[in-house]
Amino acid sequence: MGMQNRILVLAELQDGAIQGVTLEMLGKARELANGRQATVDVVVLGANVTEQARGLGAYGADTVWVAESPALADYDAQAYAIALMQVIGRVEPTLFLCAATSQGRDLSGLVAARLGVGVAADINQIKDLGHAWEVVRPIFGGNVLSTLQSTPERCLIATVSLRAFEKAAADAGRACAVEAVAVDAITTRTAIKAFAAEVASGRLNLGDAEVVVAGGRGVGSAEKFAIIDDLGRALGAAVGASRAVTDAGWRPTNEQIGQTGVTVKPKLYVAAGISGAVQHWVGMKDAGYVVAINTDPEAPIMKTADLALVGDLFKVIPELIREIEAARGASV
């Protein structure tokens, strides 16, 4: 495959809607493209996506490639890869960005395999060196930041960490070209049977939440976990739990925050009754501000929290809620 001075972004969709991370990648792609007179191409795959795709022009896309078909309504690795490779063949990008999500990781991997290159995963910085790209990504669970440089003659494929980059600002006057991608020949060997959505009614989505409150083993029982819900309500937070809690069956597994659960990146994270074992830490270490409540001042999480409140959560949390409500009352 040749290489053109073009940056390609794979739009991330969930439930047919373009996700915020797409605008984050677009913002960075536009910035890089401006620096080297390159163009920004975006590929959108799905069933009813043309209007949304067109809207990406306002966020910096020069050309949007739309692969639209009922066959692409549900994410399927093989089917999406066929459509995507058509675009890759036409665009021949020097840089290909996907979101660091299950879809993004799959598709970047499938493209990488076809191009015979590796993938730089979970990048949170990217720089144009002129002759090559330079990216930074965390390795060893975030304990090391590794800088990579691409090979000059080869496309760099990277998956981008959520919220690593700023979203592109909208410029309503900006238009883009829309190219349709042929989808007739797309077949797949996998059969999608069902999708069970997990956003519980009335609950904020943990992965996107700006404020998260989580409870751990220290809460003691399923019934007592209500106090964590109370604090969550007071702070307008999504509520999560440590693995000990979900293993005990006090909360459903989709609320587990940690290495084998959800990764959260909120501005504020409040952990009550959680010791902070590494497997949990990995799921929330990128939180902006961490508050921990624990009777044990030596618990791992208490040593790295920005604010470590030593005390019994059953005494501290009601007081926190009282203070929050007083503060709200005062500012009304």
Binding site: T101, P138, N143, T304
Partner: protein, 260 residues
């Protein structure tokens, strides 16, 4: 049914630390462990073997030095795997996933009649690139990733993928590659009987020459130019005392940051 599980042995990331200001990372002395998600894939495969009589489970591991992974594959044999293959070559020291994918493809082809290849989703362990779906492409097999449940019926694998937003149920015909994500289970412990039995199970060491994969094929498309520790997230402020006072101080702090 022949099932192959690939086990990566990686430095234990929990013990990898760089001091502030350090520019060199030496993981040679860091204890090695089996990559968590590969271990979950092994447990998932053992459960499939439990439910499907006649399943042959083969574990594969790649390393620059067979001795480094021998204990790992022996433990897998003790847990219930039937056969182990170690592929040994110095090039595995810093091969990227493209290279590992090519080797795994060659192993599957040499073993022959493999119905299912499985390992963990790409991870955080410090491999130069994540080994994910690439092998499926090389084998021209369908790939299903982020499996949290898996069941085999006839020639089909029913997979539940735990992904953003919920759980997707997918059926895929074998042979297939399935990568394991949030499988919330604890890998079984080897029994005494298992450990004794493992001594008699085949454990082979292959070279790249045995696989007809040439060292030239193990290229690199990016190179690491620097390593650094993340900026220190040191201890913050501790507040203790009466719950009322603790709460007052905490909320005052959060108000200052506009969280309340």
């Amino acid at each position: 049914m022949r099932v192959v599980i690939s086990l990566k042995v990686v430095p234990d990331y929990e013990q990898v630390r760089m001091a502030q200001g350090a520019t060199v990372l030496d993981v040679a002395q860091v204890p090695r462990v089996v990559y968590t998600f590969d271990e979950l894939a092994l447990e998932m495969a053992l459960r499939i073997k439990d439910k499907n009589a006649g399943t042959e489970l083969i574990v594969v591991s790649m390393s620059p030095d067979a001795a480094k992974v021998r204990e790992v594959v022996k433990k897998a044999l003790a847990m219930g795997a039937d056969r182990a293959v170690i592929v040994e070559d110095a090039a595995f020291g810093d091969a990227d996933s493209w290279a590992q994918a090519q080797v795994l493809k060659a192993v599957v082809e040499k073993l022959g009649e493999v119905s299912l290849l499985s390992y963990g989703i790409p991870g955080i362990q410090g491999e130069a690139f994540p080994l994910g779906v690439e092998v499926g492409h090389l084998l021209n097999w369908p790939v299903v990733s982020y499996a949290s449940e898996m069941a085999v019926t006839g020639d089909t694998v029913a997979v539940v993928r735990h992904i953003e937003g919920g759980k997707q149920s997918v059926d895929v015909p074998m042979p297939a590659v399935v990568t394991i994500g949030k499988f919330q289970a604890d890998p079984r412990l080897p029994t005494f009987k298992g450990i004794m039995g493992a001594k008699n199970k085949p454990l082979e060491v292959w070279s790249l020459a045995d696989l007809a994969v040439t060292p030239d094929a193990l290229g690199h498309s990016v190179r690491q130019t620097a390593v650094a520790p993340p900026s220190a997230r040191g201890a913050g402020r501790k507040i203790e005392g009466d719950a009322v006072d603790v709460a007052k101080e905490a909320i005052a702090s959060l108000r200052g940051r506009q969280f309340v």
